[in-house]
Symmetry: C2
Subunit: 112 residues, 2 copies
């Protein structure tokens, strides 16, 4: 089943969350937001583009670091309001130098 | 490195996005939102609880379907504003009966 750009449900701020997964290892690398323009660019260029909410600007992942993410495919959830972008990363996803942004674990001090 | 509940950055609505991944297959199953109470419950009970934005209520995943998600660990991203919940699912994550909510692919009609 295929979903077109026009079917994607952007939120009140015009954004859709995009989970980025390594297509080879299946490791989840990061989560960021796309607006329509960055999603269109991602489809056109075959590399990930996001909308930076803090800087309020388009953000081509890897433009400065070189750690671009080549897109393998983009999956869409049942509500069409979340994307799963499967990529081949040229380097670490995280600005800390870690391969994934999810390199920490929660303490389980909430457990009884 | 370990992160405690008090360090999690909930958004203006008191929510944090939670990506759910099958701990065995590494398949990404769904994305939903947790508030502090549902995250606390998830930690305490060892099964996933979310905040349903549409129904505006706590949601114990699998309470009616039986398809609970047993938590293996919870990873936290570099900004502490997104969770990656690794689980053993008792059944399909999606209300459509699909194993994952991400069972559709985007058309690449945006490509040149």
């Amino acid at each position: 089943m295929q979903v077109s750009l026009s079917e994607i449900k952007f939120d009140a701020n015009g954004l859709v969350p995009a989970v980025v997964q390594d297509a080879e290892t299946n490791e989840v690398l990061m989560m960021a937001y796309m607006n329509r323009e960055s999603l269109q660019l991602t489809l056109e260029k075959g590399e990930t583009y996001f909308w930076s909410r803090s800087r309020e600007e388009l953000w081509h992942k890897g433009a400065t670091s070189g750690n671009v993410q080549r897109v393998v495919d983009i999956r869409v959830d049942c509500d069409a309001d979340t994307l799963l972008v499967r990529v081949h990363p040229a380097g670490p996803a995280c600005h800390t130098g870690n391969q994934t942004c999810f390199y920490r674990t929660m303490t389980t001090d909430g457990r009884p």
